[in-house]
Symmetry: C2
């Protein structure tokens, strides 16, 4: 155990500098899915690499992959007897459309009230800067008693396509006692939380084609089938009006929660969910409270639909093609490959002979769980309770962090999810924000976590 | 009866000039639905007005409307004892997307085989130039024994919003014995045809909204409903897999064909429909041959679908909105306003409480019929038989020409549909074309029609 008060004081006295650093990286439009932002991706990687240099890290490298680079750096000065933590983060962000729904420019961070608004503020540049600032406080004002390895990728928002090969190729480099995954959040500004489970994901694009090219709906309506309607019929058959998924065998591998597992879930009210979502009416399967539906039950959503003429006015076209992006959130012990098979089977059984179709597998991740009584979870609980004054709740996240699955599968390392986003941060949507008091508390929490974990 | 051989010879000897004129107007990108093409719309109107001037027409005027102008011109030199024909056409065209499916540029006309490819070639600049060239032949080489009034609009492809008021305000100016509507076609290059009925149209945009803004499907999937899925469910419930429309009371006003009406319909083979559409499988209601399904039965199509993220790759968004463009082709005695009511009722009964919705009425036209033994139909039949060597078949068109309904309703004038497009001309789609031999025969047919009709 070492003295951390100077580090905490440093963090307290340098909040403005922390905010400026956060704004600086938020100004970099590092959208990984859009080729025109490749320069911004590079810029964000260089910015992070510079920060690691300022911290005195070693072996810093911007390592190329098939697509966007991975920033690596290490601090092994605590010596072989101290534990080693692999810190994971991503510096890429989602696209910003629909742009006209943003109240301020997505890459010009703006403070309104307690929040800082910008694309990536919560997911997850806020968390990246929080851990960097915690380390800065320890290095500059106190002592850094752990070994750390940093791995920051630039492809998380596109499903981390290069990461599996990268981890496979760098097993020794990345070896650690635990992975600290900072792509995470808490429940409310007053309620710390620790994510002990993540939903998995499958994400597909379904493309239907009828005739060879667009036709006139007056000439051919009634004789030629309509791919947009067929797509709607197929989608309508995938999920009932209460959210139950109708793909064949979809629930076969779902492991029901024990009563104890249900009991420790935070009980968020329907009002809380309504307010977080900005809507009037909740939705979902009978028999499951909202929080269970959002975190412990598998779901199916359409993320995009496109067919025919979508401009202003009328065009009487009978479209040749229709496309849907369909994704499913998975829970233990569902397996993405089996869900893929189920979708193919569904299409084979239900697509009419008037259409050809294809399914592209765009992204997948198996669901993940970390043990509640592991050292990392205990250290994180203690840190959260110290900073917030109350014990954290143990949550399951509805979202997906594919890297958690990967790191477990390839390195055999569990991931501790510790980060300070909020459910209503509008991540992936317009007006994404980071709650600033939570950001500052996050810096303190990381300091406490490192202190506690190094002493365990 | 006057001598028309010189006019026919003139047409025969001036085919190249006719083709050049057609190419010239096809180079004008007069897309009525896109504001950025307003200059092209103006240019096309001026081009037509110039042609009427060359023909020696009087009272030529480019008459402004609330949107795109109407080109008017008249030839009343045949005197009050001769019949008067109101010639209707439109100089606007559909948008060209998807552009990458065009084999040549849509506004750079290109001849491949017997066809001239360009947006508007068949719908309907080919028909406009054919009637102009027929008149040129008569004026220059022979005699023009009819009174003619020309009305060329620039808004047909957007549902002719300004035309009702224009016709209402110019009843006397437009008074005629019959309207010759050249926005029409034949069945095959060897089979002339006369359209004696048109389907009507209703065209709506349905917009659904769930929560206020796009959300993350991981955080909210299972708790918040998905407007893209709800839209699919609603669309799926509008039409069954055989094309039967399920909106409440949809078929109440459909007048079934008599056996005689069915007997005179051309019997086009399924193979013909397959080839025309460029596909492998037909579709439609049991108990009706393809031609009946495409011309005498009402239909429902989705013309456009849009929701969420439609770019490349994956974005795990739970969209806030979804949009469908839905149109229905109507047959006698269906009434667009009642269909609109039916759709609203369907939405009221089926849209779930998780969504708000609105329906925009984008376009409508009542179905129309012309008497088979009218003078105009007889003269046109004779002209077609003279040029093609066989009698025309009497067809019903699947498409919609709103002006036919308008002219009947406001002026009390029937419309003769006479034009020379083909069903496989890809109108409204990529690679629209005009079959050139049919274009040249069209010029001759118009000459014969004018001669015969003036003598009846």
């Amino acid at each position: 155990m070492f003295e951390i008060q100077p580090a905490l004081d440093y963090a307290q006295n340098n909040k403005d500098a922390a905010l400026e650093d956060l704004k600086a990286i938020l100004r970099i439009a590092s959208i990984s899915t859009l080729p025109e932002h490749e320069g911004d991706i590079k810029h964000a990687a260089e910015w992070l690499s510079g920060k690691l240099q300022d911290l005195g890290f070693d072996a810093i490298e911007i390592m190329p992959t098939a697509k966007h680079p991975i920033v690596y750096g290490e601090w092994l000065k605590a010596g072989p007897d101290s534990p080693t933590v692999l810190v994971y983060g991503h510096y890429d962000v989602q696209p910003v459309d629909p742009l006209d729904e943003w109240e301020s420019q997505p890459f010009e961070p703006e403070i309104r009230g307690d929040n800082l608004y910008a694309r990536g503020a919560s997911d997850m540049k806020g968390q990246l800067v929080a851990i960097l600032k915690a380390l800065e406080a320890m290095v500059h004002a106190s002592h850094l008693p752990l070994n750390l390895k940093f791995m920051f990728e630039g492809e998380e928002e596109i499903g981390s396509p290069s990461l599996p090969a990268f981890i496979e190729e760098h097993k020794d480099l990345l070896a650690a006692d635990v992975c600290l995954n900072t792509d995470a959040g808490i429940l409310t500004p007053d309620q710390p939380a620790l994510t002990i489970a993540l939903r998995g994901l499958t994400y597909f694009e379904i493309r239907l084609q009828g005739q060879n090219s667009d036709l006139h709906s007056g000439t051919f309506g009634g004789v030629i089938d309509n791919p947009a309607i067929v797509l709607c019929q197929l989608v309508a058959g995938m999920r009932d009006r209460h959210g139950k998924i109708l793909l064949p065998g979809f629930y076969d591998d779902v492991r029901d929660l024990t009563q104890e597992e249900r009991d420790i879930l935070p009980s968020l009210s329907d009002e809380w969910w309504l307010e977080s979502a900005g809507t009037q009416t909740l939705f979902g399967e009978d028999g499951y409270p909202a929080t269970e539906r959002a975190t412990t039950r598998p779901t199916l959503d359409i993320n995009g639909l496109l067919s025919g003429f979508t401009g202003e006015g009328s065009k009487t076209v009978l479209p040749a093609k229709a496309m849907a992006k369909v994704s499913m959130r998975l829970v233990p012990d569902q397996i993405p490959a089996r869900i893929h098979e189920s979708l193919i089977k569904y299409m084979e059984e239900n697509a009419p002979p008037t259409m050809t179709w294809e399914i592209e597998d765009l992204s997948s991740a198996t669901p993940a769980i970390i043990e509640r009584d592991s050292e990392a979870v205990r250290a994180a609980s203690q840190a959260l309770e110290t900073v917030w004054g109350i014990a954290p709740v143990y949550t399951r996240a509805g979202g997906t962090v594919p890297v958690v699955s990967l790191i477990k599968e390839i390195l055999g390392t569990d991931s501790l999810m510790l980060g300070f986003g909020l459910p209503n941060d509008n991540i992936h949507g317009p007006n994404e924000k980071q709650h600033l008091p939570s950001f500052y508390r996050g810096i303190e929490t990381f300091i406490h976590f490192i202190e506690t974990f190094s002493g365990i």
